[in-house]
Amino acid sequence: MSNETNCIWQLIIEQLKALDRMDDYEEISPIKDWSSDRAGGPRKVVREDLQQ
């Protein structure tokens, strides 16, 4: 995309190597649940610690 942008895959692989977790790369990620993201509409968080 740009010469100024780091390759995310390079960074991921370097980090996995540093953590000695390269085997994790081959794990298949399940399809993501986006419903807690923007796709789910407005979100509501109840901060029980602040309730009186």
Partner: protein, 310 residues
């Protein structure tokens, strides 16, 4: 070998033949004749024809409509589908639409970033990625289920493919990435265009060492160069492309009017060499806007006539 779909490509591979596929880019307009003419040029020389899905993020006629054209002409289309432009509802819906026309092959891709194309201000989707798209098609086909869990009436019967680039960085994940695509459900692979034969053979050796060639049919990607200028452009401007200096030099040392012929020679020689490489199950000949040369390449490479399969 038993096949899982009525795909001609799958049958050719199952019968142990070297497969030949090619691709057609749809037009930047609605004229169906563009696709029909390209398809007529190559139909007798290939087993299946890929239709690209808004390649390089430039808006074109949709792959699905162009695949239907090919199907109606009696060809075996490969529906290319990128996850850049569609969420999981649209992807599953288009897969069913394709299946309703008995399109039996799909190539699961993520797609080039939109900043490369004519809609750089647009949003991309990437609800799921290319691996998950392969998983999705396999689930729809093998389990007859939507992602949401409901049953599909008349599930799609598609031979599932994915792309591989043996040359991209970081090199250490090139083979693991292939393994991951196979685990996700890919049954055939079409590779990036190969010019650096030594490096491709090195990659294939690692693939064979892990036994991956027995789990997936790898078709080597071939794109003939039209000129030394094209070779320089591919070398310097196209990400993930590995064009050795000697290829550029060989074209540059050829008189201009003979360069396209030399480009074909290089392509034919590469196919002849890679035919002998363990694990190579066929060739994906991408003659970009040069479809009239596919017949010559396939014939000279000794891959014509194409075998008949029941």
């Amino acid at each position: 070998m038993k096949t899982k779909t009525p795909s001609r490509l799958e049958k050719i591979l199952a019968a142990g033949h070297l497969a030949v596929t090619s691709e057609c880019g749809p037009p930047r307009g609605s004229d169906p004749e563009v696709i029909v003419k390209k398809a007529e040029l190559i139909r007798d020389y290939v087993d299946a024809v890929n239709i690209t899905d808004n390649q390089t993020s430039v808006t074109r006629m949709c792959s699905l409509a162009a695949c239907i054209r090919l199907k109606l002409m009696g060809l075996d289309p490969v529906l290319q589908m990128v996850t850049r432009d569609r969420n999981r509802i649209a992807l599953q819906s288009d897969i069913l639409g394709a299946a309703s026309f008995d399109i039996y092959n799909i190539l699961c891709l993520s797609g080039d970033h939109q900043s490369f194309g004519d809609c750089s201000q647009g949003q991309n989707v990437h609800d799921i990625d290319s691996m998950q798209l392969a998983q999705t098609v396999r689930r729809m086909r093998d389990e007859g289920k939507f992602l949401g869990g409901d049953d599909i009436k008349r599930p799609p019967r598609m031979f599932v493919g994915a792309a591989a680039n043996p040359f991209a960085d970081p090199f250490e994940i090139r083979v693991p990435r292939l393994a991951k695509k196979i685990a996700a459900g890919a049954e055939f692979i079409q590779t990036q265009c190969i010019y650096n034969l030594d490096k491709f053979e090195e990659w294939m050796k690692m693939v064979v060492d892990r036994g991956l060639h027995e789990k997936v049919s790898i078709l080597a990607g071939m794109t003939p160069m039209k000129s030394a200028g094209m070779a320089r452009y591919m070398k310097n401007k196209v990400p993930g492309m590995d064009v050795p200096d000697e290829v550029v030099k060989r074209l540059a040392d050829t008189p201009k009017e003979k360069q396209s012929e030399e480009g074909i020679n290089i392509c034919v020689e590469a196919i002849q060499r890679l035919k002998e490489v363990e694990g190579v199950r066929g060739f994906h000949v991408m003659a970009i806007e040069w479809e009239e040369k596919v017949s010559e390449i396939v014939e000279r490479a000794g891959l014509y006539p194409r075998p008949a399969v029941a």
